[in-house]
Amino acid sequence: MTRFAPASDFRRPVDDTYQLAYFRFSPLDDERYVLTNQAGEYLVLPRAVLASFVKHELPSTHPAYSRLRSRQFLFDASSNLGRDLLALKVRTKAKRLENFTSLHIMVVSLRCEHSCPYCQVSRQSEDRSAFDMSEETAEKALALIFQSPSPAIKIEFQGGEPLLNFPLIQHVVRRGEEINQVAGRSLQFVITTNLAVVTDEILEFCRQHSVLISTSLDGPAALHNANRPRPGKNSYELAVAGIHKARNVLGHERVSALMTTTKASLSQVRTIIDEYVSLQFPGIFLRPLSPYGFAVKTKFYAAYDVDRWLDFYFEGLNYVLELNRSGIPFKEFYAATILTKMLTPFEPGYVDLMSPAGIGISAVVYNYDASVYASDEARMLAEMGDKTFLLGNVHQNTYAEIFGADALLDPIEQSFAGSVPMCSECAYEPFCGSDPVFHTATHGDFVGLKTRSSFCNRNMSIFKRLIALMESDDATRELFLSWAN
């Protein structure tokens, strides 16, 4: 008869020692703390358990002990894998850095037939020569784009209204495809447009070249039209008609929409979401209003503070959860991005939530006038007169000069969250970012003071809420996991 050893033979003595791994902890609420390891995995523990854990007093029989060990918050004699697993995960999260810039934004025209008060950059002008990108500039930009080592390259056409300079888009798409015959990247094009001037010919071209459409939709007609004045006061009607038309030609999932939040939006989150649901979008990105450009000048930004925006955001998130519970699958994309960081081994590469900052190394902007900016927000800041993040000029500078510019490397280095005050000790740092452009706009330096940073306040509140929701309800956790992947 074979003898089997009892489970106790495989357990370490209860009072055996353990070693604390490097981890961070921050309060979640009055009783509980969030702990994160180096790879961004989190655990929530009651204060008392955390206290006995850090004092090396947690008995191995405690239910939290095994979790702390399998998530590499502690090392003990039962296994010597922890460090290697952790190292592998940190490497996986950082992997995208080596690919460098994948998103390349080309501002093909600053001109626009809309006159949105919050718009950061656009111009009402017929003057093509002053505000359109030239073919020569586009050629130079393309040459730079294909010097990026990234295996995936996405070229996004922005404006103003980029369709006002459609011939240049056609040129870039054709030339890009030509260059890519040799370069062999996974190449994708997107046009960010309000769809007001879209035509069948434009859509047919997009279909032939698999170009994606990203449009603007702020909510129901009244809100959208108030936000987005244009001659005819029919921005909403044109956008919705454009969405349907574009879907018919390109396919449903090839058309996405982005909303801008204004003061008027704050009380209407449910109707905004309903609008997206009824137009059969898979989700919505509930965006904060940016502190750049005309938004600041017109006092829109100061018009509401972060707390009011957070109320708006959480009401929206709750409503989205309600929709899911009632059988309508629908995502909130900002939460989904954060959840990818929280719940998966991968890094989504969303520019605002990256540290080292994603400026330049994840996304870069080639402006209509041949200047190169570290991000879309960076060019808006420049429109306000602050050219801190101007990296160079496509006609005058080489790839090495632009991407090795002090204007890029200094802010990335100085804002690195792992070493700035508060962030370096914050349990939420693995989910957060450093956003030096935002802090330059609002605080006047790359780092800012996080206790007064609305970036910090906003994101930390969201991190806490997402974790609290998952802790309180398994179904929500499972739903969030599906958003994350």
Binding site: T2, F4, R69, S70, D84, L88
Partner: protein
């Protein structure tokens, strides 16, 4: 249940002759005749291919004795009458023992490489023996060339198949040469692969459809080590998996669900996704009441109905994480409806059965049913779907 082993009723061959692997053939010209291993399967109609071996059944014994007096004749009892063209048996003359090694019609065939193992799992279905059984591996190397190139699936099991060392690689090379398009699935505890060079050599074999299934029973090393009864097993197995993925091999993680493992399924799924993200498949298996399981029923058995919510959560978690996940050896009426889509009919045909309740069940065709051994302990929640 088919009988896969037994004894010949009579055999005309000297008792001291060595044991032989025999491929049953019915026509004079098979695809690649092999005089050492081909045995003519005689069922009363002669088309004698001139083999030195002849296999027949009791009803044709008299006739066969007359016709094949100059051959090595083996007469099988009727419970082997399902055997047919292309099947391979092993015959040991000293005890007249017969074992079916390969059935052409089977949905899956498994070859046992060795009975030795460095684990002693509480629920082992093939209790290990510390014996010198190197002949088993040699026999497989003889048999593989006898199999049809169209063989749909081949399993390599033990014991722990990697323990046979060089022979392990030789078996795989042989499979690569003779069965290049047959999926070959190895059941291993993965520990040997902790040596990166071993993993590299394995991958260098270059069989395109090679995969290895490795069990992990808990994210807690102490629980895993207890279930497999070997200290340090967890670390070596995980390192093995990491090495296999690092060299680009295909890896399946198998989790047997029972009393010692069900409570940790959520943490285990999380551990797999976060640390072993690139595994190709995760499977949750039901307990087979055989081998050591019978001796450890008190430590292992629980009604699968009672762990259905843990199993559901683990499966949904991995599915949401976009990991290929399956549930094996579970009856549909014991699973949460939301994970029916992951349940696979996986029990080998020769030991697959259904309960009385199943007769009226509308999902019977999709349900995996039971191991024949499961009559020893069966859920009290079997209920037909209407």
């Amino acid at each position: 249940m088919l009988r896969l082993s037994g004894f010949a009723s009579s055999a005309y061959i000297e008792q001291s002759a060595p044991r032989s692997a025999l491929r049953l053939v019915t026509s004079p010209t098979g695809p690649n005749p092999n005089p050492n291993h081909d045995a003519y399967l005689f069922r009363g109609k002669t088309s004698d291919p001139g083999c030195q071996w002849v296999v027949t059944f009791e009803e044709h014994q008299a006739e066969a004795e007359k016709l094949f007096s100059d051959r090595r004749l083996i007469v099988l009892p009727d419970y082997f009458s399902y055997l047919g063209e292309g099947d391979v048996i092993r015959f040991a003359p000293d005890r007249k023992a017969v074992r079916v090694l390969f059935r052409k019609e089977a949905n899956a065939n498994y070859f046992l490489v060795t009975e030795r193992c460095n684990h002693l799992c509480l629920m082992c279905s093939q209790p290990p023996k510390d014996v010198d059984d190197r002949w088993l591996a040699r026999e497989i190397i003889d048999v593989l060339p006898l199999l049809p190139a169209t063989t749909p699936f081949l399993g390599i099991t033990g014991g722990e198949p990697t323990l046979v060392g060089e022979d392990f690689f030789e078996i795989l090379s042989c499979a690569r040469d003779h069965l290049p398009s047959t999926p070959i699935h190895i059941l291993s505890n993965g520990r040997t692969f902790k040596d990166r060079a071993f993993a590299q050599r394995y991958q260098a074999i270059g069989h395109r459809r090679l995969s290895v299934g490795i069990p992990i029973y808990s994210a807690d090393p102490e629980v895993h080590d207890y279930v497999v009864q070997s200290k340090g097993a967890f670390d070596e197995t995980i390192r093995g998996i990491m090495n296999l993925k690092a060299v680009g091999a295909e890896v399946e993680i198998r989790v047997v669900v029972h009393k010692q493992t069900y409570a940790g399924l959520a943490d285990l799924s999380d551990f797999i996704f976060r640390n072993l993200t690139f595994v190709d498949h995760v499977t949750f298996m039901g307990l087979e009441i055989t081998g050591f399981t019978r001796a450890n029923m008190d430590k292992l058995w629980m009604d699968p109905y009672d762990y259905r919510s843990e199993l559901r959560a683990a499966v949904q978690y991995l599915a949401a994480a976009r990991i290929n996940v399956s549930v094996y050896n579970h009856q549909l009426c014991l699973l949460d409806g939301s994970i029916h889509q992951y349940a696979k009919r996986s029990i080998s045909d020769w030991k697959n059965e259904y309960a009385d309740e199943c007769a009226s069940c509308s999902l019977r065709n999709r349900c995996g049913g039971f191991f024949s051994s499961s009559s020893l302990a069966r859920s009290s929640h079997i209920a037909a779907f209407q």
